[in-house]
Amino acid sequence: MAEVSVRDVSKRFGATAALDGVSMDFADGGFCALLGPSGSGKTTLLRVIAGFVAPDAGAILIGGRSVARTPVEKRDIGFMFQNYALFPNMSVAENVGFGLRARKVGAAAERRRVAEALALVRLDGLGDRRPHALSGGQKQRVALARAFVTNPQVLLLDEPLSALDKALRVEMQSELKRIQREIGITTIFVTHDQEEALTLADRVGILREGRLIETGAPREVYNAPSTVFAARFLGDANIFEGRAEGAVLRLPDGTAVRIPPGSDGAAAFAVRPENMRVSLAPPDAPGVDSVRGDLVQRVFAGAMTTCVVTVCGRPMKIVAPDREVADLPEAGPVWVSWDRARMMAIPHP
């Protein structure tokens, strides 16, 4: 289909810089997730790529060609809106068939492809409904079907699965992944669900206040984030900040923590909650470090239990299988430990 390049794009709305020098390449047939807090510019980036808003500076390239002079309707995109934007005067089938009719595919082909798309999003038989007679999740799936039914070059999805329940979301995720792979559409989607981003995408981008602060493969960004913000935003992270003194990090209260070699100049260190353990005594194993803490909370959540331990005045989160922490007291002094190799050095704040 086509690769998409965003080159140094900026967009201001009055005093807010919705996008500030964003550059990112989206590979042909790739599946990229955009993450970021509310108001960080995710929707704006999608809208700039689609052509709904012209960037103040920078360029968008689709298939290697600048689309500065290509209007939205000629860009061959599928866009799914955060608010669905279903046409209230049309039935579900007419909504989904709208783009096909604009492309003059013929009545028979339109009917067949609409039916296929509705089947893919598990809405068979609802073609005659009007949008107002659908549930939120059903509307969302109509909007999704409408976006990909035309086999566009680029699929831009703004929080495509946010209104679905867990089971349906997982089902739709794998469906989306399958469709995307089958047709090989270059897809960029915005999500607030980091798990969704990590499972679906082959690339993630993290936006913060209009800046793209991190891009990379999900595993790469998860295991070696380059900013504290990204470490916190994508998955949870327990952050150690202090003064580096050779091979140790001096925490504010004087505790020394060993840091991985070759991490000079790192702004902070982090360990993922699932890579930490809580125990009553410090484990004595090579390559394992530990600090003293105060267990303040233990939350059972099915398979995993989350423990909150105050270390050096700051809460740290540890996720462990329930049987590992079952014999801990409800609260009290404990040791928090981790493999030194699992400690991530984060270069930027």
Binding site: A50, F52, P71, V72, E73, K74, R75, D76, I77, G78, F79, F81, N83, A85, F87, P88, N89, M90, S91, E94, F98, G99, A102, R103, H132, R146, T150
Partner: protein
């Protein structure tokens, strides 16, 4: 969305609707009944005149073809003015609702509402001044061409149409504006993202969604224009005889109130018949365009 009303709901609804019904009774039903009563009399019941019930006033309409001709003329006037108002009003409403924002929109709104604030008689007379031979319009046209220009628009059917369109255009603009305003911009963006050109978007999305507003505006124009008498009289001159002026004559000049009332009722019946015939057509148009 619509849920069956419980007994409590029905009572509360009746209570809430009571003022509206009282108002309708006082403002619509009573005058109309009085008119109906008049239309069935042989003579206005004033000055001790003798009167009895009769259908003669309604028969008078069919006795000559003068009334039918004038009614037809008025209906054509109504259609022309309504069509012009729609054709001019829709783009205005579009610009107001979708392309202009902030201060400029408020200013334009004011300009559109302004005619409502001036006395309608003053408005019509000012058109007479503009349109009369040697008047403002002729003077203006003279600026752009050589020689003496005599458009001579005053006392022509065109003058009547101009005056009426000017008076009633704001209704169409306002109702259509409200309908267009309610169309979420992302709907249009969604249509564009699916590759639809402007014509398709207008035909399949904007028009059907704004049709209720447009239709409401058209009704608000059509009904009073068919019965209008002031504009035809002042701007139409000897072409100014319409069904509305004939009715007015019965009340203020000839003092044949019963005939005037009967003609009014015939007009009302015809207009209602047209509107009820148009309603399903509109509804189908809205569905079919989708």
């Amino acid at each position: 969305m619509a849920q069956p009303l419980g007994p409590g709901d029905a009572r509360r609804a009746a209570l809430l609707l009571t003022p509206a019904y009282l108002w309708l009774t006082a403002a619509v039903f009573l005058p109309l009944s009085a008119m109906l009563f008049f239309s069935l009399l042989s003579d206005a019941p004033f000055r001790g005149a003798d009167w009895r019930f009769t259908l003669d006033n309604y028969r008078a309409f069919f006795a000559t073809d003068v009334y039918a001709t004038l009614l037809w003329k008025s209906l054509r006037l109504g259609l022309t003015v309504t069509a012009l108002c729609v054709v001019i009003g829709f783009p205005c409403a579009w610009v107001l609702a979708k392309t202009i924002r902030g201060r400029a929109r408020e200013a334009l709104f004011l300009l559109i509402i302004l005619p409502f604030w001036s006395n309608s008689l003053v408005r019509v007379f000012s058109w007479a001044i503009v349109l009369r031979g040697n008047g403002a319009l002729d003077w203006l046209a003279g600026l752009f061409s050589s020689g003496d220009v005599r458009l001579g628009l005053l006392f022509t059917p065109t003058a009547v149409v101009i005056g009426l369109v000017h008076s009633y255009l704001p209704y169409v603009i306002l109702t259509t504006y409200l309908a267009l305003q309610a169309i979420d911009d992302t709907l249009i963006e969604a249509a564009r993202s699916m590759g639809a050109d402007r014509r398709t978007i207008f035909r399949r999305l904007v028009l059907p969604l704004s049709l209720p507003g447009l239709a409401a505006g058209a009704v608000l124009v059509f009904v009073p224009v068919v019965g209008s008498f002031m504009e035809p009289r002042i701007l139409g001159g000897r072409f100014g005889a319409y069904f509305g002026t004939v009715i007015e004559d019965q009340f203020v000049a000839v003092f044949n109130w019963p005939l005037g009332a009967a003609l009014s009722f015939i007009l009302l019946a015809v207009v209602l018949a047209i509107l009820s015939a148009a309603a399903p057509v509109l509804r189908r148009a809205q569905g079919a365009a989708a």
